[in-house]
Protein backbone atom coordinates (compact mmCIF):
# COMPACT_ATOMS: atom_id res chain seq x y z
CA UNK A 1 0.00 0.00 0.00
CA UNK A 2 1.38 3.31 -1.03
CA UNK A 3 1.70 6.19 1.33
CA UNK A 4 0.76 8.73 -1.30
CA UNK A 5 -2.62 10.29 -0.72
CA UNK A 6 -5.34 8.55 -2.69
CA UNK A 7 -8.61 10.25 -3.39
CA UNK A 8 -12.00 9.41 -2.01
CA UNK A 9 -13.54 11.29 -4.94
CA UNK A 10 -14.29 8.31 -7.17
CA UNK A 11 -15.97 6.35 -4.41
CA UNK A 12 -17.77 9.50 -3.28
CA UNK A 13 -18.99 10.09 -6.81
CA UNK A 14 -20.31 6.57 -7.06
CA UNK A 15 -22.04 7.15 -3.77
CA UNK A 16 -23.47 10.54 -4.71
CA UNK A 17 -24.89 9.01 -7.87
CA UNK A 18 -27.07 6.96 -5.59
CA UNK A 19 -24.91 3.88 -5.58
CA UNK A 20 -24.96 2.11 -2.29
CA UNK A 21 -21.34 1.16 -2.33
CA UNK A 22 -21.86 -1.97 -0.25
CA UNK A 23 -25.02 -2.98 -2.06
CA UNK A 24 -23.47 -5.23 -4.64
CA UNK A 25 -23.89 -8.93 -4.49
CA UNK A 26 -20.77 -10.65 -3.30
CA UNK A 27 -19.19 -13.19 -5.58
CA UNK A 28 -20.74 -16.55 -5.09
CA UNK A 29 -17.37 -18.18 -4.70
CA UNK A 30 -17.40 -19.90 -1.38
CA UNK A 31 -14.72 -19.50 1.20
CA UNK A 32 -12.29 -22.33 0.73
CA UNK A 33 -12.64 -24.70 3.62
CA UNK A 34 -9.40 -25.04 5.50
CA UNK A 35 -7.82 -28.32 4.57
CA UNK A 36 -6.62 -29.59 7.86
CA UNK A 37 -5.79 -33.02 9.12
CA UNK A 38 -7.71 -33.58 12.28
CA UNK A 39 -6.69 -36.37 14.56
CA UNK A 40 -9.47 -38.90 14.90
CA UNK A 41 -9.21 -39.38 18.60
CA UNK A 42 -8.83 -36.25 20.63
CA UNK A 43 -7.63 -36.35 24.17
CA UNK A 44 -10.21 -34.63 26.36
CA UNK A 45 -7.49 -32.97 28.39
CA UNK A 46 -5.45 -31.83 25.44
CA UNK A 47 -5.16 -28.07 25.21
CA UNK A 48 -6.98 -26.08 22.57
CA UNK A 49 -5.19 -24.04 19.97
CA UNK A 50 -6.14 -20.97 17.95
CA UNK A 51 -5.23 -21.02 14.29
CA UNK A 52 -5.12 -17.90 12.14
CA UNK A 53 -5.51 -18.58 8.43
CA UNK A 54 -4.01 -16.65 5.56
CA UNK A 55 -6.42 -14.34 3.83
CA UNK A 56 -5.87 -12.05 0.89
CA UNK A 57 -7.51 -8.95 2.37
CA UNK A 58 -6.02 -8.18 5.77
CA UNK A 59 -2.87 -6.06 5.64
CA UNK A 60 0.31 -7.64 7.02
CA UNK A 61 1.04 -4.65 9.25
CA UNK A 62 -2.49 -4.82 10.61
CA UNK A 63 -2.31 -8.55 11.38
CA UNK A 64 1.00 -8.14 13.21
CA UNK A 65 -0.36 -5.21 15.21
CA UNK A 66 -3.45 -7.17 16.25
CA UNK A 67 -1.24 -10.04 17.52
CA UNK A 68 0.79 -7.57 19.58
CA UNK A 69 -2.26 -5.84 20.95
CA UNK A 70 -4.35 -8.92 21.82
CA UNK A 71 -1.64 -11.25 23.07
CA UNK A 72 1.04 -8.84 24.26
CA UNK A 73 3.58 -10.32 21.84
CA UNK A 74 6.67 -8.34 20.92
CA UNK A 75 6.77 -6.88 17.44
CA UNK A 76 9.40 -9.49 16.49
CA UNK A 77 7.26 -12.42 17.62
CA UNK A 78 4.10 -10.95 16.07
CA UNK A 79 5.88 -10.33 12.76
CA UNK A 80 7.16 -13.93 12.69
CA UNK A 81 3.68 -15.30 13.36
CA UNK A 82 2.19 -13.04 10.70
CA UNK A 83 4.80 -14.23 8.18
CA UNK A 84 4.04 -17.83 9.14
CA UNK A 85 0.36 -17.23 8.41
CA UNK A 86 1.26 -15.57 5.14
CA UNK A 87 3.77 -18.14 3.93
CA UNK A 88 2.48 -21.41 5.41
CA UNK A 89 -1.19 -20.61 5.15
CA UNK A 90 -1.83 -20.69 8.89
CA UNK A 91 -0.18 -20.42 12.28
CA UNK A 92 -0.99 -21.30 15.88
CA UNK A 93 -1.23 -17.97 17.68
CA UNK A 94 -2.39 -19.00 21.15
CA UNK A 95 -3.42 -22.02 23.21
CA UNK A 96 -4.98 -22.99 26.51
CA UNK A 97 -8.24 -24.21 27.99
CA UNK A 98 -11.28 -24.15 25.73
CA UNK A 99 -12.93 -21.11 27.38
CA UNK A 100 -9.80 -18.99 27.10
CA UNK A 101 -9.28 -20.01 23.50
CA UNK A 102 -12.90 -19.23 22.61
CA UNK A 103 -12.37 -15.74 23.93
CA UNK A 104 -9.18 -15.38 21.88
CA UNK A 105 -11.08 -16.44 18.76
CA UNK A 106 -13.84 -13.94 19.54
CA UNK A 107 -11.36 -11.09 19.93
CA UNK A 108 -9.62 -12.04 16.69
CA UNK A 109 -13.02 -12.09 14.95
CA UNK A 110 -13.77 -8.64 16.35
CA UNK A 111 -10.63 -7.52 14.54
CA UNK A 112 -11.65 -9.27 11.33
CA UNK A 113 -9.01 -11.99 11.37
CA UNK A 114 -9.84 -15.43 10.08
CA UNK A 115 -9.32 -17.43 13.28
CA UNK A 116 -10.56 -20.88 14.23
CA UNK A 117 -9.93 -23.25 17.12
CA UNK A 118 -9.38 -26.95 17.53
CA UNK A 119 -8.14 -29.36 20.16
CA UNK A 120 -4.44 -29.98 19.83
CA UNK A 121 -3.64 -33.48 18.66
Amino acid sequence: VSFTTPSLAASAQASAAGTQILMVRAQDTQTVEPDVDISESTDLDAPWIVLVWNDPINLMSYVSFVFQKLFGYTKEKADLLMLDVHEKGRAVVSSGPREKVELDVFRLHEHGLWATMQQDS
Binding site: V1, S2, F3, T5, P6, S7, L8, A9, A10, S11, A12, Q13, A14, S15, T19, Q20, I21, L22, M23, V24, R25, A26, Q27, D28, T29, T31, E33, P34, V36, I38, L51, D55, P56, I57, N58, L59, S61, Y62, F65, Q68, K69, K75, E102, V105, F106, H109, E110, H111, G112, W114, A115, T116, M117, Q118
Partner: protein, 161 residues
Protein backbone atom coordinates in the same frame (compact mmCIF):
# COMPACT_ATOMS: atom_id res chain seq x y z
CA UNK B 1 13.66 15.39 6.39
CA UNK B 2 10.13 15.50 7.69
CA UNK B 3 8.86 12.46 9.49
CA UNK B 4 6.41 10.64 7.35
CA UNK B 5 3.65 10.49 9.93
CA UNK B 6 3.50 14.25 10.18
CA UNK B 7 2.26 14.32 6.62
CA UNK B 8 -0.22 11.54 7.13
CA UNK B 9 -3.93 11.45 7.84
CA UNK B 10 -3.46 10.06 11.37
CA UNK B 11 -1.13 11.92 13.65
CA UNK B 12 -0.10 11.31 17.27
CA UNK B 13 -0.27 14.60 19.16
CA UNK B 14 1.06 13.46 22.55
CA UNK B 15 -0.56 12.33 25.81
CA UNK B 16 -1.93 9.28 24.04
CA UNK B 17 -4.09 11.43 21.79
CA UNK B 18 -4.36 11.42 18.00
CA UNK B 19 -5.66 13.66 15.25
CA UNK B 20 -7.42 12.43 12.14
CA UNK B 21 -6.50 14.86 9.40
CA UNK B 22 -9.22 14.39 6.82
CA UNK B 23 -11.06 17.12 4.94
CA UNK B 24 -14.62 17.86 5.97
CA UNK B 25 -15.78 16.34 2.71
CA UNK B 26 -13.84 13.11 3.22
CA UNK B 27 -15.18 12.85 6.76
CA UNK B 28 -18.73 13.16 5.49
CA UNK B 29 -18.10 10.63 2.73
CA UNK B 30 -16.55 8.17 5.18
CA UNK B 31 -19.45 8.67 7.60
CA UNK B 32 -21.82 7.72 4.77
CA UNK B 33 -19.91 4.51 4.11
CA UNK B 34 -19.85 3.69 7.83
CA UNK B 35 -23.64 4.10 7.93
CA UNK B 36 -23.92 1.66 5.05
CA UNK B 37 -21.83 -0.80 7.02
CA UNK B 38 -24.13 -0.28 10.00
CA UNK B 39 -27.15 -1.16 7.84
CA UNK B 40 -25.39 -4.14 6.33
CA UNK B 41 -24.75 -5.56 9.80
CA UNK B 42 -28.52 -5.87 10.23
CA UNK B 43 -28.69 -8.25 7.26
CA UNK B 44 -29.25 -11.93 7.62
CA UNK B 45 -26.26 -13.95 8.80
CA UNK B 46 -26.27 -15.81 5.48
CA UNK B 47 -25.61 -12.63 3.45
CA UNK B 48 -22.38 -13.39 1.55
CA UNK B 49 -21.12 -9.82 2.06
CA UNK B 50 -20.88 -10.58 5.79
CA UNK B 51 -18.90 -13.78 5.29
CA UNK B 52 -15.61 -12.27 6.46
CA UNK B 53 -17.15 -10.37 9.39
CA UNK B 54 -18.69 -13.44 11.02
CA UNK B 55 -16.35 -16.37 10.35
CA UNK B 56 -16.68 -19.92 11.68
CA UNK B 57 -14.93 -20.61 14.96
CA UNK B 58 -14.74 -24.42 14.94
CA UNK B 59 -13.61 -25.35 11.45
CA UNK B 60 -13.70 -29.11 12.13
CA UNK B 61 -16.85 -29.31 14.22
CA UNK B 62 -20.08 -27.89 12.74
CA UNK B 63 -22.09 -28.83 15.83
CA UNK B 64 -19.85 -26.93 18.22
CA UNK B 65 -19.65 -24.07 15.76
CA UNK B 66 -23.45 -23.79 15.66
CA UNK B 67 -23.44 -23.68 19.44
CA UNK B 68 -20.70 -21.05 19.44
CA UNK B 69 -22.48 -18.89 16.85
CA UNK B 70 -25.67 -19.19 18.84
CA UNK B 71 -24.31 -17.24 21.73
CA UNK B 72 -21.44 -15.29 20.15
CA UNK B 73 -22.93 -14.00 16.91
CA UNK B 74 -25.03 -11.31 18.59
CA UNK B 75 -22.16 -10.36 20.83
CA UNK B 76 -19.92 -9.88 17.79
CA UNK B 77 -22.63 -7.86 16.07
CA UNK B 78 -22.94 -5.63 19.16
CA UNK B 79 -19.19 -5.21 19.38
CA UNK B 80 -19.15 -4.03 15.75
CA UNK B 81 -22.07 -1.69 16.40
CA UNK B 82 -20.13 -0.24 19.34
CA UNK B 83 -17.08 0.47 17.17
CA UNK B 84 -19.31 2.06 14.52
CA UNK B 85 -20.87 4.37 17.11
CA UNK B 86 -17.36 5.49 18.12
CA UNK B 87 -16.39 6.17 14.52
CA UNK B 88 -19.54 8.16 13.74
CA UNK B 89 -18.73 10.37 16.70
CA UNK B 90 -15.04 10.67 15.77
CA UNK B 91 -15.84 11.65 12.17
CA UNK B 92 -18.24 14.32 13.40
CA UNK B 93 -15.55 16.56 14.89
CA UNK B 94 -11.91 17.52 14.40
CA UNK B 95 -10.76 17.40 18.04
CA UNK B 96 -8.01 14.99 19.17
CA UNK B 97 -9.25 11.47 19.95
CA UNK B 98 -8.07 8.82 22.42
CA UNK B 99 -6.12 5.68 21.59
CA UNK B 100 -9.19 3.60 22.30
CA UNK B 101 -11.27 5.67 19.85
CA UNK B 102 -8.55 5.31 17.23
CA UNK B 103 -8.56 1.56 17.85
CA UNK B 104 -12.32 1.52 17.13
CA UNK B 105 -11.66 3.57 14.00
CA UNK B 106 -9.08 0.98 12.91
CA UNK B 107 -11.52 -1.91 13.43
CA UNK B 108 -14.22 -0.19 11.39
CA UNK B 109 -11.85 0.69 8.54
CA UNK B 110 -10.82 -2.94 8.44
CA UNK B 111 -14.43 -4.20 8.56
CA UNK B 112 -15.37 -1.98 5.63
CA UNK B 113 -12.30 -3.19 3.79
CA UNK B 114 -13.24 -6.83 4.42
CA UNK B 115 -16.71 -6.28 2.96
CA UNK B 116 -15.29 -4.48 -0.09
CA UNK B 117 -12.59 -7.10 -0.55
CA UNK B 118 -15.33 -9.76 -0.50
CA UNK B 119 -17.38 -7.81 -3.08
CA UNK B 120 -14.31 -7.38 -5.27
CA UNK B 121 -13.30 -11.00 -4.70
CA UNK B 122 -9.86 -9.56 -3.96
CA UNK B 123 -6.77 -11.71 -3.79
CA UNK B 124 -3.22 -10.85 -2.88
CA UNK B 125 -2.45 -9.66 -6.39
CA UNK B 126 -5.45 -7.34 -6.52
CA UNK B 127 -4.24 -3.91 -7.51
CA UNK B 128 -7.14 -1.52 -7.33
CA UNK B 129 -5.31 0.82 -9.73
CA UNK B 130 -5.87 -1.79 -12.45
CA UNK B 131 -9.64 -1.53 -12.26
CA UNK B 132 -10.89 0.66 -15.10
CA UNK B 133 -13.23 3.56 -14.62
CA UNK B 134 -15.79 1.77 -16.79
CA UNK B 135 -15.84 -1.20 -14.42
CA UNK B 136 -19.08 -1.38 -12.42
CA UNK B 137 -16.98 -1.94 -9.30
CA UNK B 138 -14.70 1.05 -9.92
CA UNK B 139 -16.07 3.00 -6.92
CA UNK B 140 -15.64 -0.04 -4.68
CA UNK B 141 -12.08 -0.57 -5.90
CA UNK B 142 -11.17 3.06 -5.26
CA UNK B 143 -12.59 2.90 -1.77
CA UNK B 144 -10.80 -0.38 -1.09
CA UNK B 145 -7.49 1.28 -2.02
CA UNK B 146 -8.28 4.38 0.03
CA UNK B 147 -9.16 2.33 3.12
CA UNK B 148 -5.92 0.35 2.83
CA UNK B 149 -3.98 3.60 2.77
CA UNK B 150 -5.84 5.05 5.75
CA UNK B 151 -5.54 1.78 7.67
CA UNK B 152 -1.75 1.64 7.17
CA UNK B 153 -1.45 5.10 8.68
CA UNK B 154 -3.77 4.23 11.54
CA UNK B 155 -1.83 1.08 12.45
CA UNK B 156 1.44 2.96 12.16
CA UNK B 157 0.19 5.70 14.53
CA UNK B 158 -1.17 3.18 17.07
CA UNK B 159 2.04 1.14 16.94
CA UNK B 160 4.01 4.31 17.62
CA UNK B 161 6.04 3.91 14.44
Amino acid sequence: MRRRRQQGPVEPVGNGMFLINLSEQDRATMAGFVEQLEELLLSDISDPRLRRLFPVAYHDDPERDAEYQNYMHDELRQSRAGSIAIVKEVLGHTEPITESQLHGFMIVLNSLRLVLGTLLDADESTDTDDIEESDPLFGQAQLYGYLGWLLEWTVSALAGE
